[in-house]
């Protein structure tokens, strides 16, 4: 393979690796014995500049047409405009997370390790986004997951935190095993590791070997865990609630971006099918439809009963994974674009909502009960207004980007199939359920907004929000609004 080109393509990642060594080195050598808050200040600055440099390197690379259409090592490193966008979005979200990590933790004297693990997991998401190869995807997913397990346990002093991390680790390990077995069967049947070639080989088969069905089942279990699809979602509420909020934000967004790209890759035989009703796409879409249905039901009905904001957002995330699958079942180009668009907009809005929770409740050491946010409009009007934007986008209210995202999913699911006999809107029942569930979704999101914007006296004293945090929050809000008002450039980019 062309080493020079590969180094160029990996420049953002190399920048991040260099930056993370800088973080660790500065902490271990220069800042030995300094005050924790001071270490946080310096190391977080290094981490953010690292990510900014990584972003700039990626943007510079995107100006080089050779680097925008790149395939190295049989799909191990594939760079297309869409993949690059996902990678850079992951870096951007990691940049937001850097600003959210609390600077005065009472529990942990480890500073640089947190930032290093964050940077490493951002690398993992990046590699996932640029991989079209079973082996690389698996290794990248493990890179991401291991970082997340460790970060979840950051707050070792809290029993609940350690318990959630253990749960996450145990179920996550099991799901990785499923994924690996699925990958090995897929490799065993097709003899290929490149996902494109896997898909091409599957389409040459006259009839599907049963082992292939088992392989896809195992793959779905593995990825379903990462995306918190029902019935593999049980870890999500506990982890979101008990992990440090910054980490929960990263799990809800960065990890979701990477896993979605992986899911799209694994489902490629469905997308590539010569006609939409080939046996493999029939198998995949009926499986996905069932998962979509139960995810929407469990996620939305579960979220209704939550009193803790982070748990509620976790269930909301489960529901959103369900919507995402609704868009995917049609296996058309439109659904690919819709899924990518939705997951991007969901990640932005979700990151914003978590960021507000992190800034408000973590600094006060609270567990983010919905009631704690009573009267935010009075004590922190700016924060409350931004939160309104993020949550309304999650509830898919126009003109915010969440609405366009969800509309795109339903739109894709109703696209008439290429074979006319299959009738109008093969998935209209699924869309109908999704719409009913959206009403439920609005109910619980309004309950949250009620605490923030309606009720009287503030429960919490106002929190000082730093300039950097304001900048990232406003940036997220602007993106959420702008992508709703004018989604076309992004849709064009994703196509």
């Amino acid at each position: 393979m062309d080493g020079h080109l590969m180094l160029n393509a990996l420049l953002p990642d190399l920048v991040v690796v260099a930056g993370l060594f800088l973080c660790l080195g500065a902490d271990y050598i220069l800042l030995r014995g300094r005050d924790v808050a001071e270490r946080h200040r310096l190391i977080s600055r290094i981490a953010s500049w690292t990510l900014i440099c990584g972003l700039l390197a990626g943007l510079l690379g995107s100006r080089d047409p050779q680097l925008l259409q790149l395939q190295i090592g049989d799909g191990q490193l594939v760079i297309t405009p869409v993949r690059l966008l996902f990678k850079l979005t992951a870096f951007l979200l990691a940049l937001v997370v850097v600003e959210l990590i609390p600077t005065r933790p009472a529990t942990s004297g480890h500073v640089s390790e947190q930032y290093a693990l964050l940077l490493l997991s951002a690398l993992g998401v990046g590699f996932l986004a640029t991989s079209h190869h079973l082996l690389v995807s698996f290794v990248a997913l493990e890179l991401l997951s291991l970082c997340l397990y460790a970060l979840t346990a950051l707050d070792m002093g809290r029993r609940a935190g350690a318990e959630a991390a253990l749960k996450y680790f145990a179920i996550g390990g099991l799901s990785s095993a499923f994924l690996l077995v699925g990958i090995s069967y897929l490799y065993g049947v097709t003899g290929q590791l490149n996902l494109g070639k896997v898909s091409a080989y599957i389409h040459t088969l006259q009839h599907l070997p049963p082992l292939l069905g088992v392989a896809f089942l195992f793959l779905l279990v593995g990825v379903g865990f990462k995306l918190a699809i029902v019935p593999f979602h049980l870890w999500a509420p506990d982890v979101y609630q008990n992990a440090p909020t910054a980490v929960a934000a990263w799990i809800a967004t960065g990890s979701k971006l990477g896993s979605t790209v992986l899911l799209l890759g694994l489902m490629l035989p469905g997308f590539d099918a010569p006609n939409a009703y080939s046996p493999v796409s029939r198998l995949l879409s009926s499986g996905l439809a069932v998962l979509a249905l139960i995810s929407m039901l469990v996620g939305n009905l579960g979220a209704m009963r939550q009193g803790n904001l982070k748990r509620l957002l976790a269930y909301g995330g489960v529901a959103s994974a369900g919507y995402l699958l609704v868009g995917m079942v049609a296996f058309s180009d439109a659904s690919r674009v819709a899924v990518l668009f939705y997951v991007l907009t969901y990640a932005l809005a979700s990151m914003g909502a978590f960021a507000v929770v992190a800034l408000v409740s973590d600094q006060l050491g609270r567990d983010a009960e919905i009631d704690d946010f009573r009267g935010c409009w009075k004590s922190m009007p700016g924060i409350a207004a931004l939160f309104l934007i993020f949550v309304l986008s999650l509830a898919s209210i126009p003109p915010l980007s969440g609405f366009i995202g969800k509309f795109g999913l339903f739109f894709a699911a109703l696209q008439p199939p290429p074979v006319p006999e299959e009738g109008f809107g093969g998935w209209s029942w699924l869309v109908a359920v999704a719409l009913i569930m959206s009403v439920v979704g609005l109910y619980y999101y309004l309950k949250v907004l009620r605490a923030f914007l309606v009720t009287g006296e503030p429960a919490l004293p106002p929190v000082r929000v730093g300039t950097n945090a304001w900048v990232v929050l406003v940036m997220l809000a602007v993106l959420v609004v702008a992508l709703g008002l004018w989604p076309e450039p992004l849709l064009e980019w994703l196509r």
Binding site: F411, L449, V454, E488
Partner: protein, 493 residues
């Protein structure tokens, strides 16, 4: 002035009021009044300029080509009266909440977001865009009621918003069905009205769209959000709700469901007519039984919206004219009644229970007479807009092959019931000595109306009288646009 200015002014007003410091209630209300009045002036200017046929001020920009959505705006004879009523009610809503001090900046931010959404629906010439504005108008209602509301505000706000949102979910499903059924890859009204839609598709999609929109128009049995919501809402919001938001639903029924699905409309029209008559009679009878003054008005709104729906169900030129006229008329009069009961009378008596009122005619004579005038207008007394509207509706229903004669007779009985409850309630409110003991209604004369209240009442009553005396001011403008729809209905088979 361009019609889009109404929309831009409203959202600019929301932003401007929202960004002002909360303590400056005085400045905020003047700013709000300025934005609302400019909106009304724009709407008036549009009305004067409108030639009487076709779509005016048409703009059409690409927006999301992959979804077939365009930024297409414009107004015709059907939107015009509704733009006017929106402008009127928006101005009067500000006037009747002149004394608001608590969180005034947020109040007007939500208020103008709602008004902007409403203008947007009436101006959209693209169904996707229309739906976007329709949903924009949902969420501000929640906050307006939940923050500044009264009786059981949490329950009422949540119920109202969930009903609206569930209705819009149906609408969305119907729109998607329409889009894929038409196979034209577009959401614009222009092109969809030329697409050919198969009859079975129309039979399925029509009820989705009609019921989805009619939830907001207060159609029985989906009306229950309306009385509770109106009662809980603060005055300006209940004026908007009754005056304008319910018309969004009726407008959607007419423009989208009937306008685009003529075959579906013909099949379902008898059912719609039956439900509409239930609305009229049921609303009037329930209003008669209410003891809370605001609930009386709330149920009378349900009854009056029944006339709109009946007018729509006739599918004739006369009936549709009546429906649109009734939308305008009820918009103005409903808003006035809510303003009088919720703000003018309540701020003086501090109660809305009819049995606690004590001979109000002697103690607030001017207000009482204004209310009596408004009540007569609501009853449909000749000379007020309600008369012309209901007459058109009943005449249309009589001619219409889709509305059976029995239903028309029942609707006529509904008119009588309206007379009944209006007169009974006027008597109970103003001419009756106190019935209940321990009332908060004190003895003695009440202070007279403030300037803002006088202005608001004059504006609303005046426009009802003007349209009542010269209905052709509005009906002439809408004939050509309605004729397009009626022709489509007649041609379709």
């Amino acid at each position: 002035m361009h019609a889009l200015l109404t929309l831009i002014l409203s959202f600019a007003g929301a932003l401007a009021c929202g960004l002002m410091p909360a303590g400056r209630a005085r400045q905020i209300r003047w700013v709000a009044l300025a934005f609302a009045s400019l909106g009304l002036l724009t709407a008036l200017h549009c009305a004067l300029r409108y030639g009487g046929s076709g779509v005016a001020d048409e703009v059409d920009w690409p927006w999301i080509p992959s979804l077939g959505a365009r930024l297409a705006f414009g107004y015709d004879g059907i939107s015009l009266p509704l733009l006017l009523v929106t402008g009127l009610v928006a101005v009067c809503g500000v006037l009747f909440t002149w004394e608001l001090k608590e969180r005034a900046n947020e109040f007007y931010a939500y208020y103008f977001a709602l008004v902007g959404g409403v203008y947007g629906v009436f101006l959209s010439r693209d169904l996707f865009l229309l739906f976007v504005f329709y949903e924009i108008a949902v969420v501000p209602k929640y906050f307006l009621i939940a923050i500044w509301g009264g009786t059981r505000k949490d329950y009422a706000a949540m119920k109202l918003v969930l009903y609206s949102f569930a209705g819009s979910a149906l609408v969305l499903l119907g729109l998607l069905g329409l889009y894929f059924g038409a196979n034209a890859s577009t959401f614009t009204l222009q092109e969809l009205s030329q697409a050919s839609l198969s009859a079975p598709l129309q039979y399925v999609v029509f009820p989705l769209l009609f019921v989805g929109f009619a939830v907001l128009a207060g159609m029985w049995p989906f009306h229950t959000w309306a009385p509770t919501g109106h009662v809980a809402a603060p005055t300006a919001a209940s004026m908007l709700l009754a005056g304008v938001v319910m018309k969004l639903g009726a407008y959607g029924c007419l423009r989208v469901a009937i306008g685009l699905l003529p075959l579906g409309a013909k099949v379902w029209a008898p059912w719609v007519a039956a439900l509409a008559v239930v609305n009229i009679v049921y609303g009037a009878l329930v209003a008669l039984r209410q003891t809370d003054f605001k609930f009386v008005i709330g149920y009378s709104s349900v009854s009056h919206m029944g006339f709109v729906l009946l007018g729509l169900a006739t599918l004739t030129q006369t009936g549709l004219t009546g429906a649109v006229l009734q939308m305008f008329s009820h918009g103005v009069i409903g808003a006035l009644l809510f303003a009088l009961v919720g703000a003018v009378i309540y701020s003086r008596t501090h109660t809305r229970q009819l049995e606690e009122f004590h001979l109000l005619i002697a103690r607030m004579p001017v207000i009482a007479w204004v209310f009596i005038l408004a009540g007569l207008a609501s009853m449909g007394l000749p000379g007020f807009s309600g008369f012309a509207a209901e007459l058109h509706v009943l005449m249309g229903a009589w001619q219409s092959p889709w509305v059976s004669a029995g239903l028309v007779v029942l609707a006529g009985a509904g008119v009588v019931a309206t007379f009944g409850y209006t007169l009974v309630k006027i008597h109970e409110a103003f001419f009756r000595p106190r019935v209940a003991s321990g009332s908060s209604d004190k003895e003695g004369l009440y202070e007279p109306m403030t300037a803002a209240e006088i202005a608001g009442c004059a504006l609303l009553l005046g426009s009802s009288l003007l349209v009542g005396l010269f209905p052709s001011l509005l009906t002439d403008k809408m004939q050509a646009s309605l004729k397009l729809i009626v022709d489509r209905l007649n041609e379709a088979r």
